[in-house]
């Protein structure tokens, strides 16, 4: 694969432009265009989007010294041979040895670690995640000031008192622990992609039937190394769950079990495995709701998976695509292992047969061997969230 690092001197102004900066602005800050095909590595992550990037530039003699002095703090875009922006960030570290300049850059999300928020910005009880994210976008000069891709995360986080030493990313990391919406209880993520546009979006809901179309289809043959290399266990699988509640509003009864909630497919596969969820002092109705959420969470093995993929994958149209395009936040299917990847499998069975399907939380690409390391995230934590919100520990015994 071919990659080119294009470097401009530092600039903080509005990043307007279809590809480049504002056309009336000065492009005299352009430093150079370097072939980094052999030395590039970069990561994507949630939260953040573009993570770190490193590459090497060779310049002879005095040019190396000049380059070394000029590029720290510069704006770098990694283009592929088709002119697509593979990475975008700011150069944070430079070293020079034997004419080789080693460059490290960070995605623009990291700049939020260096800007302090004004105090007392969010004083309304109805402050939402979306409100805070938009204010941060507006406050950060080096982020594209557009809200277009900030989805309506209307979960109310309430009044936020920012302390004097609090940075932008401190407040973001705090509020992004809450779910996307009251009626859409899934994790929400923030990522900054090309042209420094900020995206706020929920995790894919794999409980949907059929679940959404994937961004990328991966052949199992292109998984390299020792393969997936994960293990799964029945240790935390429960497919018949009772809730134990002790409603303090009713003194006539003590701790009481609800009726059971069953997952018949899980029982068919793994045998009956019973568990009891302690829902504390909440009443029967809440106990039953939590029981049902727990069943979804524990009926099948859930795991985090990491694996490495070779240079080629398929996009949704079936055309071949380069694996370096896979980013955190994408939804992928290893199609040879998932017979339901057309998305028409039904209910629990489709989820159970999802051999390797998931939501990407981080990637790490290396051009030297053309491989990308992918980490898929765990989904369906509605149950953990709800338990935590209610102050319960969520354990099943």
């Amino acid at each position: 694969m071919k990659f080119y690092a294009s470097i401009w001197r530092n600039y903080y102004d509005d990043c307007v432009g279809g590809i480049w900066r504002n056309l009336t602005n000065d492009h005299m800050g352009f430093i150079g265009n370097f072939d980094v095909s052999q030395t590039l590595s970069f990561s994507t992550q949630l939260n953040g989007g573009f993570g770190t990037c490193s590459f090497e530039v060779f310049l002879p003699g005095a040019l190396a010294s000049a380059g070394y002095n000029e590029i720290l703090g510069g704006h770098v875009v990694i283009f592929d041979r088709y002119g697509d922006r593979t990475y975008e960030g700011r150069i944070t570290d430079v070293s020079l040895e034997n004419g080789i300049i080693s460059v490290t850059a960070d995605g623009y999300y990291s700049q939020g670690n260096y800007i302090m928020m004004p105090t007392e910005l969010w004083t309304a009880d109805e402050t939402t995640i979306g409100d805070i994210v938009k204010d941060c976008v507006e406050y950060m000069d080096c982020w594209n000031p557009t809200y277009v891709f900030i989805q309506d995360a209307n979960f109310i986080v309430g009044k936020q008192e920012s302390t004097e030493e609090q940075k932008v990313n401190d407040i973001l990391e705090k509020i992004l622990k809450f779910p996307f919406r009251e009626d859409y209880v899934l994790p929400v993520y923030l990522a900054i992609w090309s042209q420094r546009m900020v995206y706020l979006f929920p995790e894919i809901d794999l409980d949907l039937n059929p679940y959404p179309y994937p961004d990328w289809l991966i052949s199992a043959k292109s998984i390299i190394g020792e393969g997936i290399g994960t293990s799964t266990t029945l240790e935390n699988v429960y497919n018949r769950i009772y809730a134990l509640f002790d409603d303090t509003a009713d003194d006539s009864t003590g701790p009481t079990l609800t009726t059971a909630a069953d997952s018949y497919m899980s029982q068919y596969l793994y045998g009956i495995r019973e568990g009891v969820l302690n829902t504390g002092e909440y009443g029967q109705t809440m106990g039953e709701e939590l029981r049902d959420l727990a069943l979804k969470r524990y009926e099948f093995p859930v795991q985090q998976i990491s694996f490495s993929v070779g240079p080629l994958v398929q996009n949704l149209s079936g055309a071949q695509a380069e694996s370096y395009r896979i980013r955190a936040g994408d939804f992928i299917i290893v199609k040879d292992l998932d017979e339901t990847y057309q998305g028409y499998g039904g209910g629990s069975r489709s989820k159970m047969l999802r051999g390797l399907t998931g939501f990407v939380v981080s990637t790490n690409y290396s051009s030297k061997d053309g491989t990308i390391d992918i980490q898929l995230g765990m989904t369906n934590w509605k149950f953990e969230y709800q338990m935590a919100r209610l102050g319960l520990d969520g354990g099943i015994s």
Binding site: F149, G310, G370
Partner: protein, 479 residues
């Protein structure tokens, strides 16, 4: 021609076969093949495809006698070689020094092959100062054994490494092939014939672009390299009912609600009141558009910055986009919006009765609007595709638009610059991605799409005069 083996740095040329000062042994010249790193990818079981091929340098060795009429002459000739290599070696380390080439021609070959020498050394035996070695004579000449080891370029070239004179090739803009320049309108092509492209490895190019009658200033120039077979349909009108098959109206999107809408997946709150929505436009995909392209959206007017665009291709049941993170924001200063690279199916798919490639395959354009900014409309004229299956080169103006001057993108010298007297003090544009390399022995085209700040009609009428120069290359030797 006789067998030729010379070293030259454009100051001194040393003939290693002259038998007066140097004599190469029989079988004393060895030049290896370059190391190759190949990378294979697989998209489905059993289907492999090479995704990259990188050639590194190669090693060459020469075993020879260094000779002279006197012992002093021998040392002079030895030092000559040592000085040449020292100057070349310092070029890599210190950026001062001289380029050096190895000139090699087989006995009976029609031309010389030139390899660039990156570094090298002359070695003599450890015991060269011993009496018998100092007084060794070959015939009437004093001589010492020596060996030269060099690191040379992976490719051999058809012109001297030290030369800046490339070979101009004839071009066609649809008519006859001519040298001296062809006129190319915005979005049109210059074609080079296969017979002009000799060699066995991709040819390095120098592209020269001069203003033509219809020339106006530009800010960004996209040069797409297209290998045949050529795509026949590269323009999709907004208003043409034969092209645009989904969504209305033919050119204008309103300020509220958007159009279409049944395929949106997201709603987002971007303003204080009405959430913004996605609007979709879709064109029936045509078999005449195959391969890798860079897409452009052309508007009748400049598009406000609160609109964002993404392009993709997908099936009937869902308007997918190429990558949801690759929306682009228009500059607000140009009618033309670069949308990015798009891969359309690489082979024609089975035709249906409708005559389209697949009745359920669409080119989709997603439009997003930021409602926090003042309501705006936009008017779209057409979608165009620049073929880039052979490569893409981008020129970007540094300051204001590149006004009337001759632009030179020299892949041989590795520099972009202008030829005319104005502007005088700097190169007004720079190049991104990498210089174009042409495939030998194949008809192919360079297509030019430029973007400036003029009105729609003026933009489309922009004309250039294009000339093309090449350097034939070989992985081994020219014969």
């Amino acid at each position: 021609m006789a067998f030729t083996l010379k070293l030259s740095n454009d100051y001194v040329t040393v003939d290693l076969m002259n038998a007066t000062d140097y004599k190469v042994y029989d079988g004393g010249f060895n030049i290896g093949l370059p190391e190759v790193e190949r990378e294979l990818g697989v998209i489905r079981p059993g289907f492999f495809r090479p995704v990259s091929e990188i050639f590194s340098y190669r090693e060459a060795t020469i075993k020879l006698d260094i000779m002279g009429t006197t012992r002093s002459d021998v040392l002079t000739n030895l030092r000559q070689l040592q000085r040449m290599f020292r100057r070349t070696n310092s070029r890599d380390r210190l950026s001062v020094g001289r380029r050096m080439e190895l000139q090699y021609q087989w006995d009976g070959a029609s031309q010389i092959t030139y390899f660039e020498v990156y570094s090298g050394d002359v070695n003599v035996p450890d015991d060269v100062l011993q009496l018998e070695k100092m007084f060794y004579m070959r015939g009437t000449k004093y001589a010492i054994e020596a060996s030269i080891t060099m690191t040379v370029s992976a490719d051999g070239y058809g012109i001297s490494v030290l030369s800046s004179t490339l070979t101009e090739v004839a071009l066609s803009n649809g008519g006859s092939y001519v040298t001296g320049g062809v006129t190319v309108a915005n979005g049109a092509y210059a074609e080079v014939a296969s017979t002009s492209l000799t060699g066995a490895s991709p040819l390095i190019t120098k592209i020269v672009v001069a203003p033509s009658t219809g020339y106006t200033a530009w800010n960004t120039m996209f040069i797409g390299h297209e290998l045949g077979p050529y795509s026949t349909k590269l323009k999709y009108d907004i208003g043409d009912s034969g092209d645009l098959v989904y969504d209305t109206p033919p050119g204008t999107l309103g300020v509220s609600g958007g159009y279409g809408g049944t395929h949106e997946e997201w709603l987002y709150g971007t303003g204080t009141s009405t959430p913004g929505t996605w609007a979709n436009l879709a064109w029936a995909y045509d078999n005449g558009t195959i391969g890798m392209f860079y897409a452009f959206l052309h508007g009748y007017t400049k598009t406000a910055e609160n609109f964002k665009f993404a392009i993709g291709i997908d099936d009937y049941t869902r308007f997918g986009i190429r990558n949801v993170k690759d929306f682009v924001r228009p500059s607000g200063y140009c009618n033309t919006i670069p949308l990015g690279a798009l891969q359309l199916p690489s082979v024609p798919l089975e035709l249906t009765a409708l005559g389209n490639i697949h009745e359920d395959l669409w080119i989709g354009l997603w439009v997003a609007k930021d409602y926090t900014l003042a309501d705006k409309t936009l008017s779209l004229d057409f979608l165009s595709f620049l073929p880039i299956n052979g490569g893409l080169r981008i020129w970007q103006a540094r300051t204001t638009a590149v006004t009337s001057c001759t632009m030179i993108d020299d892949g041989w010298a590795g520099i972009e610059y202008v030829k005319d007297s104005t502007p005088k003090y700097w190169t007004p544009f720079y190049g991104l991605i990498e210089p174009i390399k042409l495939e030998p022995g194949l008809n192919q085209r360079l297509r030019f799409q430029s973007i400036g700040t003029q009105d729609n009609a003026t933009e489309q009428a922009r004309e250039l005069v294009v000339q093309l120069y090449v350097v034939p290359t070989w992985p081994t030797l020219a014969l």
